[in-house]
Every structure is written in C-alpha cells, then in structure tokens.
Symmetry: C2
C-alpha cells in the first residue's frame, strides 16, 4: 500500500492511495456492499458506472453468511462478487455492538448471538483479521469495541485500553498471515467516545504502531454535528499526516465537506443507498422525495444538471411510477443516482482541493444537504 | 407493419416482422414488462443485453397506474420506459377477467373494480384501443372476453359472437385514430374455450377482417398440454398463412417448441421471470433451484454452456448467497439469465428452421423442460 498527498487546500488533502486492486483518488467515498452486494440490485458493472473506486464489505455479515471459507474457495471477495477494484472490509466490531444480541465481552474477544439465527458466535481480534484475510480485502480494519453512548469515563478508558491491546494482536496476526505476501493493509481505529483527552491519548497510542492508515470510529452514532466537528478538530492534528485518514460511517454531503476541510481522506455511509431505496434523491438543488404526487407528470430528469445514466435516460414521472407500482427497478435506479451523486461530489471536492477553491464548493453545496 | 416468411421446416415458419420501432425475427418470445418495467429490477439496457426483440406491456395495469395520459405526455411508452425496440400491448381483456373483481359485462364493454383500490372502471373495445394508441404500441391487441373454464357451450357461443362484434369496433376505432398515421397494427384474438368447432368458426370470422395478425387466446389457462396441442392442431390450418400467429401466455420451452412446429410465430409468458424470482433457473441440463444447499460451494456458472452475462461473471455459490441474504440483486441476475435462456432458445429455433433441423432441437431440448 502506498499513499501520496498530491495537493492541499488549507487542511484538506488531495491524495492517491495505491492498493493491490487499484488506485483510489482521495478524498474518496466508499460504496457499501455489506453482504457482497450493493442493496437495491446494483451489479458490479453498475458500481463502475456510478464511479465507485472502492467498495466496503462487512466481516460480521460475511462471516455469518455465507462464511469466509466459501468466499475464499470462490477465489476471494473480488472474484465472488465480480468486483475487481479495491475492497475495504470492516472488522465486525461495529456490527457486533450494533446488530448482534447478548454480547459477552472479555479480554480474549466477544461472544454474541447472530442476528440471523441466534446461534452463539465468538470472535477474537485474531479471528477478525483471519476472516478479512480470507476474504482477500485490500484494507482490513482493526477489531475494536464501539462503545454505546452514554458511557462512563471509567468504562471508556478501560475499553480504549482493551481496544489498543486488540489492535496489537490484530497487527501481529496480520503480520503472521501476510508473512509471504503483503497484500492486506491494516487500519487502526480511534475510539474514546465523547472524551477528547481519551480520544487523543488513544490516537497517540495507535499512531505509535506505525500502521498503514487510521480511522476514527464511534462517531455518527447519534451525537450532534457540532460534537462530531469538535472531536475532529481535536483529533485530526494528532493523526499521522502521511497516512490515510478514514472517518467511519460518515455521512451527509455537508458532513463530508466539513471533514475533508479538516483533513479526512476516506468516508463510507449507507445513507445514499438507504435514502435511495426510500425515494429520497440528491440533486444540485437539494433532496427530493420522488414518491410525491407533484412528480407524476414531471418529465424532467431527477436533476437536470446531473450526468448520471439514470438522469440521462429516465424522467421523474417514470421513477415515481416505478415506486408507486412496487417495481424493484425503482430501487436500483434511485440507488444508482444517489451513489453517482456522492461519487461525483468527491470528484468535485478533489478538483476543488487541486485548485484551492474548496471554500467556494462548501458555499455552493451547503444548502443542498 | 410487414411480415415475410423466409423459410419453413414442416409447418414451422422462420419470419421477419417489421414494425415501426424495429424488426422482430420470428419465431420470437416477447419479454413481459407488465407495468412498463421488467420485474426483478431489469432496466431497458438489461433487456437489450438479454436479447429481447420485443417487449409486452399491459393495458389494464398502465390504464389504472399511471394512466395512459401520463405515458402519452411522456412521449409514449417507448420514451417513458426508455425502450426503443418494438412494444406489443395486450388489450386489458385477459386481466379484467383474471385480476379485476365484480365484473359486469354488457354489449358496450366491461365494468370492473380495480385490483389496486377497488374503484369502478368501465372499459369498452374503443377505450382499450384508444389507450393502446395513446401508449404508442407497435401492436395493439383486440379487446376480448377470456371465458373462464368450465363454461357452457351456449355461454361460449354468445361470448365469441360478442368478442367478434367487439373486434369490428376495435378495428373501426383504430382506423379512425390512425387516419393520419398508420402506426399501430391490430391483432385479432381467437376464443372458443375447448369447443373445436366454435374455435374454428370464430377463427374464420376474425380472419375475414383481414387484420395484420392473429392471436390464439384462452389457452394456457389450466387445460392439459394435450388439450392445448389438440386445439392448435385444429386451429392452425385455419389461420391465414401470410399473417403472424401469436399464442398468448405460452409457455414452457417444450410448449414453445410444440407450437412452433405447428406454425406459431409469437409467444409471451411470465414464466421465465417469475421462476427466476423464485430461484428456478433454466439450463441446458434442465432446471435447477439455486437456493438449494448443494450450490453453496459450487463455483461453476448457472449453466456452463450458457454465454449470458450472468453465467460469464457469477457463480452458483454467489447467486445462492444473494438469495439467502435477501439481496435484490439475486432477482435481477436470475431473471436476466432466464430471459436470456428463452431468447436464446428462440435463436436456436430460428436457426433450426433455417437448416430444417427442428426435429433434432426438439429431441435435445425436450428433457430440459
């Protein structure tokens, strides 16, 4: 893995991230393929069409179904889902703490009940890394505890210390697995809930391991935007400047712009796909709900300024008709448009950093988000 | 509209049907886009990819939702759904007699309750033709009564007589609408339930109107295959040889082969799409249920002999995973494969007629259906 910063605009960085399966121009938005597929019926060629540079898949989901052995036997996740560009896998930590039930956390790992069939599953940091390695990810995320809020300072302090010990174990396990082939890059994840000093101390700790990249976890979990930005303001100066920085689970276009302007390079969020499936579509003039009666006779595209394949071939009236008729195509076209919007937004952000005009983009886009 | 027969093999015909939106090589299978979309999330480009020559849309559904005025305002069905190849619309008759409730049939037309919201709707033969003309179909079907079985001879005789009077009204209305532009071809529909003499008498009547094409309706509604083939044996010699012959709602690959060998040119059926959505996939070795546990570790394509885009890029294991995970992409890939299978079967049938080897194809394919 190689990461080069080509230009800056204030604290914002325009970078190039080279991974085994290709190059990612940053800042970049990762498109979420939780179960080795983009929700809404998008295929891998559709993903390329909407300008996706890197897909994110979920270790928790793929471990439970179909299981990493099937994916490895298929030749890895890239072959399994027919996606030849880079893939990042999360560690399963976040899903264990948000989806699974009856968690029992210990130093060795976490035991939990599968949200699918209730069966008891144990996952250690080493398990998580082994699964991600079997999936063949370009980037593996460290196994962490994502602390639910509110949490006491004592609990968060203990949890951060354990997450750091887990990180050391993740690094050791990946080193062992990658001994003969260095294909998977491990990113550490910063935690610390809403305690700035714990966040900073944890960041210093994980930075000391000299990992290929660093992520900020435990944000976008219900705190206010102001709290999120304050945490970023405190954290980003403490993050290694020569490594990619990934803000997990974020976010809206304005969240992304705010974070980019503070120096974040990578993002992921289910928002554009989820909103798309509910008919909420992003446009240069703000969002619209395509199911609204007012669009029944509107033969203009979703966004007249948009050059995505959906806007080039379909009208608002057709899309509304598909939603009202319960046609699956409604989901696919809406998700395609929204993902294109987010990927295109990142293109605009990259160009704005190169021309040092990020503030203008911020002004223009703010009211649409 | 122009129809030319280029070759024959026994009673089977290899034809070319020229329509305002393009040429259809016959025998052809029409892909069903009931509500101006193929179920399972296929887009118009997907339809081209699977080799669809002509799509079928439903007048009943589109009249109720979104309404033909919206489609006309969009520039017609071709523009509305972004499909530039030919479209046939059925008349609404079959759906009124299978989907709608509280039907009241009279000489002037049928009053019924919408299956969507229960509202009372009246449709006359003239209404049906006006709707199909507004949709901009290449081929409009005559408005007919599809008699439910079992039915008394007296009822069927009266019904056939009325359906013939309705056909005359359809023809008159389309002539009026097409006065300045002859774009839509009207096909008459033969009825007569399971009474061979009524079928024949009705066929002679409708043939006397010298319409551009003729369809056989009221089959594939629950009768045995032997009964269907016996009806075809009796009817086909009485159908005009220089007009396309369309067997409505049929069917399985073996049904299609049997009908082609008796001289049928056009088919439509929801079977490949519906089966695909349930994971039943067609292969050169018969059908398979992709949800079966045995495919969880099977990294071969659905059909190793198939050259469709799904078989070229995806394994049975991936498809099974998508079904088990509830991913919409499962539906789309399965429907794409099945439609490709049917469209490709028609290609093989056309080639076999040209080389006068239809009997060999019948032998090879019979056990797969």
């Amino acid at each position: 893995m190689n990461f080069t910063i080509n230009a800056t605009s204030g604290s914002a960085r325009r970078g190039t991230l080279t991974l085994p399966h290709g190059i990612v121009q940053t800042p970049a938005f990762m498109n979420v393929a939780t179960q080795a597929a983009i929700k809404g019926g998008l295929s891998a060629p559709d993903l390329e069409t909407v300008g996706c540079q890197i897909a994110l898949a979920n270790t928790y989901h793929l471990h439970l179904r179909p299981g990493e052995n099937i994916v490895r036997n298929a030749g890895g996740l890239h072959t399994f889902m027919n996606w030849q560009r880079p893939i990042l896998t999360d560690s399963g930590g976040f899903q264990i703490f948000s989806l699974a039930r009856l968690r029992k956390i210990s130093e060795s790992g976490v035991e939990f009940s599968s949200h699918i069939d209730g069966r008891r599953v144990f996952m250690s940091p080493e398990d998580s890394v082994r699964i991600q390695h079997a999936l063949g990810s370009d980037i593996a995320m460290a196994f962490d505890e994502c602390v639910g809020l509110p949490a006491t300072r004592d609990y968060v302090e203990d949890s951060c210390a354990r997450t750091f010990r887990w990180l050391e174990r993740c690094k050791m396990e990946l080193t062992r697995l990658d001994e003969h082939s260095e294909h998977t890059a491990l990113f550490g994840i910063n935690q610390g809930a809403t305690f700035p000093d714990l966040r900073l101390r944890h960041m210093e700790q994980i930075a000391s391991l000299d990992l290929p990249g660093y992520a900020i976890g435990g944000l976008a979990v219900g705190e206010s935007h102001a709290e999120m930005y304050a945490t970023l303001d405190a954290l980003l100066p403490a993050m290694p400047t020569d490594k990619p920085r990934y803000l997990m689970g974020v976010g809206t276009p304005s969240n992304i712009l705010e974070a980019v302007s503070r120096g974040v390079d990578l993002f992921d969020c289910v928002l554009p796909a989820r909103n798309g499936r509910h008919g909420k579509l992003y446009t240069s003039q703000g969002t619209l709900n395509i199911k609204n009666e007012r669009y029944s006779n509107d033969f203009t595209p979703i966004d007249p300024e948009c050059k995505c394949p959906v806007c080039r071939s379909h009208s608002r009236a057709y899309l509304r008709h598909l939603f009202k008729s319960g046609e699956v195509l409604a989901l696919r076209l809406s998700v395609m448009h929204n993902l294109w919007y987010f990927n295109h937004l990142m293109e605009e952000i990259r160009a704005a950093i190169e021309s040092d005009t990020l503030h203008k983009l911020t002004q223009r886009l703010y009211y649409t988000t």
